[in-house]
Amino acid sequence: MKALVAVKRVIDYNVKVRVKPDQSGVDLANVKMAMNPFCEIAVEEAVRLKEKGVVSEIVAVTIGPKAAQEQLRTALALGADRAVLIETDDEVQPLAVAKLLKGVVDEEQPQLVMLGKQSIDGDNNQTGQMLAALSGFSQGTFASEVVVAEDYVKVTREIDGGLQTVKLTLPAVITTDLRLNEPRYTSLPNIMKAKKKPLDTKTPSDFGIDLTPRVKTLKVEPPPERQAGIKVGSVDELVEKLKNEAKVI
């Protein structure tokens, strides 16, 4: 079966985020960019399913600027077979992303669509669910285990109180949580091979999707700073302060 994996170019997770002084957003100038960590887990899972003989072809897709080709090349180096870039410099909000991905789903007809549960920039946690709705697919969000059978997939999900397992009719959308797997590193030979793999470029207008933002960002601020308190010298002093000063015990 065919798997479609959607990935996103985001600020590298090791970079300390700085808010622009004019409060218009986060400073992305000359900042290291990378594939969203949850998307990397999605690619890894698809590759493992291919290694098991469950998945026959992996198509990676992203929506973003020309530079997002780098993240597609990473996906190809990790084991995807071909890639699609839907190129745009505009801000694309999750609903519009889901609509564009629905267009790719219609073209590619995958049985499995894998995405990260959220991107570490917008932290929306919406796209997979919305794509599932638009496609009429079942959904297994926050996956920590994926077992694929012929016409269904069992997904174990990380929920608030523990774990939940659901059985989903294929085709299905799966969004990955941190513990699903540990992505492999790309090897140099695979990076070289990835350069020769096919990468198609499309535009949002190819899909006739309106990208007009539905949510306007008015300002972006640093979070309120919490003032450091005091150091106490002993357990006795700590208990005394908690009882008499903070009055929390």
């Binding site: 985020v17 808010v19 986060v26 999750p94 609903l95 570490i120 920039d121 932290d123 929306n124 946690n125 919406q126 796209t127 669910q129 919305m130 794509l131 599932a132 709705a133 638009l134 697919f137 959904q139 969000t141 926050f142 069992k154 990380e158 929920i159 608030d160 109180g161 523990g162 774990l163 939940q164 397992t165 659901v166 059985k167 989903l168 009719t169 949580d177 513990r179 933002p213 949510v215 306007k216 960002t217 008015l218 972006v220 601020e221 640093p222 979070p223 919490r226 450091a228 308190g229 005091i230 150091k231 357990v235 006795d236 700590l238 208990v239 302060k241 908690l242 903070a246 929390v248 015990i249």
Partner: protein
């Protein structure tokens, strides 16, 4: 203006995050109705009817809603939501799972993890793992929000008697089914609802040493948490993880033991009222957010603390 609030529950009891979500709905203003969707959930509907400040409770009691499968729930909420201006759900794994699906059916862009209502169409939410706070304005006709419980004080759970209305709408997409669940069993309060939380980090060295924290937790009636480092090291199960990718907590007292204070952990607990850090490394970043810091070996400090309580 009319707002529909989804009640978080397990078919037996109403979950606390619902009350914070109603508080967010009150900040928006207008009439508030609650939706209890589940199966054999009459007790939840009765509890919901007592919540202060609401107009009525809608109850959709049918087998396809038993486990809140998004594929079934989304059609129900989209149908009922048609007549509301706002649909608010707690930003729990349940809410995050189904609300975007509702939004796509209604062609709306939802707003996740709202921590403050600025005006009926403008909200604050954390982005970049809480390293920035965005103020966003919805341009959609309807506002669909997931509400982060720590941003709003819960309203009173008991003090009213609203009307309960049965909704006979059953949607079964028949493309997903519940297979089972493994929920952590504990006599302790729920992590996200506890008044006191005590968490251990990599400094605990192994899972057995968490027994030291348990003794303190017993005396304080506290919930137990952990840092991602402790979870990744296999000391404790992942449902104990406090942080950006785990649970977001804001108790009255948070005690961080052997936790260095990585940004991912701080994002999950920095809204706590009083933070105590116990760590032998006086340079640990956790001390920069702690109200009371104790530089000490936790293996001496924790038994001493327990003896003092």
């Amino acid at each position: 203006m009319q707002t529909l609030v989804f009640v978080e529950h397990d078919n037996q009891a109403l979950k606390g995050a619902t009350l914070n979500t109603v508080a967010a709905a009150q900040a928006i203003g207008g009439d508030i109705d609650l939706l209890v969707a589940g199966h054999s959930c009459a007790a939840v509907a009765e509890a919901a009817a007592k919540v202060v400040g609401i107009r009525k409770v809608l109850v959709a009691d049918a087998a396809p809603y038993a486990h809140h499968l998004a594929e079934n729930l989304c059609a129900l909420v989209a149908e009922l939501g048609a007549q509301y201006d706002n649909i608010l759900v707690p930003a729990t794994t349940t809410g995050k799972n189904f609300l975007p699906r509702v939004a796509a059916l209604l062609d709306l862009q939802p707003i996740s993890d709202v921590v403050e209502v600025v005006s009926p169409d403008t909200f604050k939410r954390p982005i970049y793992a809480g390293n920035a706070i965005a103020t966003v304005q919805s341009l959609d006709a309807k506002k669909l929000l997931t509400v982060r419980a720590t941003g709003f004080d819960p309203i009173a759970a008991d003090g009213a008697a609203a009307e309960i209305e049965t909704v006979n709408v059953v949607h079964d997409a028949n493309i997903s089914s519940f297979e089972g669940e493994a929920l952590a069993e504990s006599d302790r309060p729920e992590l996200t609802a506890a008044r006191v939380v005590i968490s251990g980090g990599r400094g605990m060295q192994n899972g057995e040493n968490f027994a030291l924290l348990e003794k303190v937790a017993d005396k304080l009636g506290a919930a137990m948490g952990a840092s991602r480092a402790a979870v990744d090291a296999g000391f404790v199960p992942n449902d104990m993880q406090v942080g950006q990718t785990g649970k977001i907590v804001a108790p009255e007292l948070y005690i961080a033991v052997g936790i260095s204070g990585a940004i991912q952990h701080l994002a999950g607990m920095k809204d706590s009222k009083v933070i105590v850090a116990i760590n032998k490394d006086e340079e640990a970043p956790i001390f920069q957010v702690a109200d009371y810091g104790l530089v000490a070996d936790l293996f001496e400090a924790i038994p001493a603390l327990e003896a003092k309580l």
